[in-house]
């Protein structure tokens, strides 16, 4: 694999392609045609067009990518020399859990990792929650991490303040194994590699990123990281969620994808949205993470008006947008109109950017949104299992 790193970096970050489209191409050349990524890049344009049914613009994108191979070779060398490894989706080292959860449409085509890669194949739990969490929620995160470590389960952490950090610290404290899923490129995490040197040397930690290696932290990356955390985990525990923000968005997204999400059952009077998530389909669990059977809230739920509104409003917006776009590209104003949405254009744009299925395209001076084009080859799920 080492010698292919250049090609994988080049393919994984093809501008505007998205994981679904890239993975569909990988399925074609790797599983169906059984050729290496290097051979694929060395095919003629006519092969790309005839055998792979790629459009002229896709071929152009691949040609542009190809001209960057020498440059990416320098990048790949510098990454490898720093001990970062690249695990493409075709590799047996790639996390099966991640593939199973995110499918070919949403699995990242390439993982950048440093540390013990065997950890990717252990049973795993994610412990997520708010950055501002305290008290009982932090205790819950600690307790779940303790139990996970005891049962040789890996703790997946997003390395955010609050619950994520607590879960990681606890896993380390209880000598368990963990995965840090970075909200940034892997080459920008020097201080972390210094802090967790011993854990990495001892094989107890894997640091993972799916972003271009030198990308700095940003809100969109932090949001895009959430599905990876959920995808890497066999079980998902929510310690505490407010009614907006990363945890909320992540859990709602997870529930929509049909994941089983375990939510800490809140005490009376707790000011958070745990109860709302339970109502939404989250499974209530006690302090030890055990499911609470036949629960019914014996005390009045504290749901802020804001939370209930956003629950009603946001839940089906993405679906409504997708169906609205099923056909032709639209401007944001057209989307608001067709979907009868009562939100600002700015808010809509943020929402659109966060949606995996949607891409933007310039038409003269106006930007329109459309569903990502799919390759003609049918998706072959069994090849990714």
């Amino acid at each position: 694999m080492k010698n292919e790193a250049t090609y994988w970096i080049t393919l994984a970050h093809l501008p505007k392609w998205g994981f679904g489209k890239i993975n569909a191409l990988i399925v074609r050349f790797f599983h169906e045609e059984k050729i290496s990524i290097e051979d694929f890049f060395n095919l003629s344009e006519s092969d790309w067009s005839k055998r792979y049914m790629l459009s002229a613009s896709d071929i152009q994108a691949l040609q542009n990518a190809k001209s960057e191979l020498p440059n990416n070779a320098f990048l790949a060398e510098s990454l490898l020399s720093q001990g970062y490894q690249m695990v493409p989706i075709t590799s047996p080292e790639y996390s099966r859990t991640l593939k199973l959860n995110l499918k070919a449409t949403q699995s990242p085509s390439l993982l950048y990792v440093k540390g013990n890669r065997d950890i990717l194949h252990q049973p795993s739990v994610a412990i997520v929650g708010s950055r501002e969490a305290a008290g009982k929620s932090m205790g819950f995160a600690d307790n779940i991490a303790r139990l996970a470590s005891k049962e040789y389960k890996v703790v997946v952490s997003g390395f955010a303040k609050g619950i994520d950090k607590q879960a990681l610290d606890s896993a380390i404290h209880y000598k368990g194994q963990s995965i840090i899923v970075l909200p940034q490129g892997i080459a920008t995490f020097n201080s972390g590699f210094k802090t967790y040197y011993k854990q990495i040397v001892d094989g107890d930690l894997l640091v993972l990123s799916t972003f271009p290696p030198k990308a700095g932290w940003s809100v969109p990356l932090a949001m895009a990281r959430n599905p990876i955390i959920y995808g890497l985990a066999d079980e998902i525990f929510v310690a505490e969620s407010s009614e907006k923000g990363g945890t909320w968005a992540g859990v709602v997204d997870g529930l929509r994808k049909g994941r089983k999400i375990l939510v800490r059952y809140p005490d009376p009077g707790e000011k958070n949205a745990n109860a709302v998530l339970i109502q939404k389909g989250g499974i209530p669990v006690d302090f030890n993470g055990t499911e609470i059977q036949n629960h019914s809230f014996t005390y009045p739920l504290v749901i802020s008006p804001q939370a209930s509104r956003s629950l009603d409003l946001q839940a089906d917006i993405p679906d409504r947008i997708v169906s609205a776009l099923n056909g032709k590209p639209l401007t944001p104003l057209e989307i608001l109109d067709i979907c009868k949405l009562n939100i600002s254009v700015g808010k809509l744009m943020t929402l659109l950017k966060g949606m995996e299925l949607i891409q933007s395209q310039k038409y003269g001076k106006t930007t329109k949104y459309l569903l990502k084009s799919r390759l003609s080859a049918p998706e072959q799920k069994e090849l990714f299992t």
């Binding site: 080492k2 010698n3 790193a5 250049t6 090609y7 290097e38 890049f41 060395n42 190809k66 191979l69 020498p70 440059n71 070779a73 320098f74 990048l75 790949a76 060398e77 510098s78 490898l80 020399s81 720093q82 001990g83 540390g115 013990n116 020097n190 590699f193 210094k194 040197y197 011993k198 990495i200 040397v201 001892d202 094989g203």
Partner: protein, 672 residues
């Protein structure tokens, strides 16, 4: 018109050359098809043309990795004079200058960019490569890739990794003048990718090879003293150690021969000055360790003398290969005293630290992310040994070198394999065998050129008549009493310099009465300090006085100060009192230790030695020191850490000048 003819027309207009040699053309043809080539041709053949020419035809920038700054400079100068946009990036240029060149390269304004392999560690450069349009990669001095070669350089490891990651179709050219079959195979397999190997013949017809067997160091000095001036032209004399470089240079200076010393320890400006002077024939001879000359493009180096036998025929071929590129007669002289074998042997055997030391380094790196200085602190190993260990551990995939910001750190690789000492044994055996072959070269009665060519895997050589076994007269060492006397006088008048001068200190370079290992100086010191505890004898005092007169005789001093002892009582104090008395300079007893220190010899590296003495001294009546000129006395100068520390202390107290004088200076840790 064939493609070759067509391009030869271009060659005329671009390089003012008429035609390609066949191997040049073979190489260029393959390069232009995007292939990988390893080209082995002797020095002066015209290897550079094989990448310079296609680089101009290609769209984009060709990056040339070269370990030799002097060579980069020469080639850039030459290309620029032909109107070809070439630049080099190296550590001797300012960061601003390098940044400008990188910026120009990003804009496509540089056709050929020379760069040191170490630059691959520089983040600015790696960033720049994101925007560079790369047309070809060249690895100059490609034997540096192989641990089986004579000049393995760890920085080349990353270049090999880069080459492995380059896409197929991007041409890669590796060139070297010196590769045995084993090195050739190693380099080719490391570069990989269906590489083609082109090897020319290595014969140098214009060389006149001599071996002079002697019985002592004196015989070398005597013959050279008598004859150096008689060898035509200008040349290079290689010694085995830096100290020998100094001694030979001083000996020739003593005889009023125009020579200059050179070693890798010189600062960049001095090195450039010597290299330029060599080009301009400013001296009869440059006396140097083998750091000089690699890649210097001077066609008329007329002679190369070795006073110390090199480690292997390949080292030797490489070093003499720098001479006589113009094809005119060139004198190649090797001195050999059977005792000389000890030095290369000690590099081979002693150069490899014990397995326990490797384990020590592994265990500290396992616990913490460390830099080289911290490793030195935590292991108390010599820095040279740490470098060897580090390089081997990287080679074995046990540790890796990472950049943390601008700092290099060494990290243990998760799930690393165990240390494999067999590899070192194999390497050591191979090097010992190479040394045996070098001695065989001395003893052979056959053609010497043929011997070298065969060793290097070139079997094409026919019979030659260009050595003292095949037609040339043998060199005999003969000398008379007059010369003997001259050498004696030189020895008695020669005092080692203590190089301690620094920008932020008022200390000046000092002097030692002798080297520790010379005659019986070291032995006497050792006996007085550790066995008899008697005062240092008069002959040491007289020798020190002589050194003082020669170096500081015309200077005024206000005060003699001596270094307070660690364990050896008042020996240094009493010695300083006697010295001050004879020099009629007041002595001060006010320099004291404010905390106990250990004996410096307990520490193996400079980092710990300077930690040991840092802040350990004070001066009782410091207010008296302002504007004073101090003669600072000690018995032995080893790393110089104590003297430098005192230099800083006195500088802080306003002392105008600190001049150190010691009885003996050690050479590379011979203190026991």
């Amino acid at each position: 018109m064939t493609l070759r003819q067509e391009l030869e027309e271009k060659l005329k207009s671009l390089f003012k050359l008429d035609a390609f040699y066949d191997d040049q053309w073979n190489t260029i043809e393959r390069i232009m098809k995007g292939e990988r080539v390893l080209l082995i041709e002797k020095t002066g053949y015209g290897k550079s043309l094989c990448f310079q020419f296609p680089a101009i035809l290609f769209d984009g920038t060709t990056v040339v990795f070269s370990p030799l700054i002097a060579l980069m400079r020469d080639q850039v100068k030459k290309l620029n004079s032909l109107g070809i946009p070439a630049k080099c990036i190296n550590s001797e240029q300012s960061p601003e200058e390098n940044s400008q060149i990188i910026a120009a390269a990003k804009l496509g304004e540089v056709k050929i960019l020379y760069i040191a392999p170490e630059r691959q560690e520089n983040s600015e450069w790696i960033e720049a490569t994101r925007l560079l349009k790369l047309s070809m990669v060249v690895i100059d001095e490609a034997h540096c890739i192989s641990v089986w070669g004579h000049d393995f350089r760890p920085a080349f490891r990353r270049i090999i990794n880069l080459v492995k990651l380059l896409p197929a179709g991007l041409p890669v050219l590796a060139t070297t003048a010196t590769a045995t079959k084993k090195v050739e195979a190693d380099v080719a397999s490391q570069i990989g990718g269906n590489i083609t190997i082109l090897r020319g013949n290595l014969l140098r017809e214009n060389f006149r090879l001599y071996v002079v067997k002697v019985k002592s160091e004196d015989e070398k000095l005597l013959w050279l003293g008598q004859n150096l001036d008689k060898i035509p032209g200008t040349g290079i004399l290689y010694t085995g150690t830096r100290v020998d470089t100094e001694i030979y240079a001083k000996w020739f200076e003593y005889l009023n021969l125009p020579v200059i010393g050179y070693n890798a320890g010189l600062d960049a400006d001095s090195r450039v000055a010597v290299e330029n002077g060599l080009m301009d024939n400013r001296w009869k001879c440059v006396i140097s360790t083998n750091a000089l000359g690699m890649g210097i493009d001077k066609p008329d180096i007329r002679f190369i003398v070795h006073t110390q036998i090199p480690q292997s025929p390949i080292h030797y071929y490489q070093e003499i290969g720098r001479a006589g590129r113009d094809g005119k007669p060139t004198w190649i002289i090797l001195f050999y005293n059977p005792e000389d074998r000890r030095l290369p042997l000690s590099f081979i055997e002693g150069g490899r630290p014990s397995v326990a030391k490797y384990q020590k380094v592994i265990s500290v790196i396992r616990n913490e992310l460390l830099g080289e200085r911290e490793i030195a602190r935590k292991t108390n190993l010599k820095q040279t040994q740490i470098r060897v260990i580090k390089s081997d551990l990287i080679e074995q995939g046990i540790v890796r070198e990472v950049m943390l910001g601008k700092n290099k750190r060494f990290e243990y690789i998760n799930q690393a394999p165990a240390l494999d000492p067999r590899f070192f044994e194999e390497l050591r055996a191979s090097k010992t065998s190479d040394l045996d072959h070098m001695i065989e070269y001395v003893d052979t009665t056959q053609s010497r050129m043929k011997y070298l060519c065969n060793f290097l895997g070139d079997s094409m050589c026919s019979e030659f008549k260009n050595c003292d076994n095949t037609g040339l007269k043998k060199i005999q060492v003969v000398y008379n009493e007059e010369w003997h006397q001259k050498l004696r006088e030189f020895r008695e008048d020669y005092f080692p310099i203590l190089e301690v001068i620094s920008k932020d200190s008022s200390i000046v370079n000092g002097v030692a009465a002798s080297y520790y290992g010379f005659s019986n100086v070291g032995a006497t010191l050792h006996r007085c300090k550790y066995v008899t505890k008697e005062e240092f004898p008069d002959f040491l005092l007289n020798l020190t006085l002589k050194a003082f007169r020669k170096i500081f005789g015309r200077e005024e001093f206000d005060l003699v100060v001596y270094v307070p002892p660690t364990t050896s009582g008042d020996l240094v104090k009493n010695f300083a009192v006697r010295l001050a008395d004879l020099l009629k300079i007041p002595i001060s007893h006010d320099l004291v230790k404010i905390r106990p220190t250990s004996e410096q010899k307990a520490f193996e590296n400079g980092v710990l030695k300077s930690d040991n003495v840092k802040g350990a001294f004070s001066f009782v009546n410091a207010q008296l020191l302002s504007g004073k000129r101090i003669l600072l006395v000690d018995d032995i100068f080893d790393s110089g850490a104590t003297v430098k520390e005192l230099g800083h202390l006195f500088t802080n107290f306003g002392v105008e000048k600190i001049s150190p004088i010691v009885i003996a200076r050690t050479v590379g840790g011979d203190l026991v």
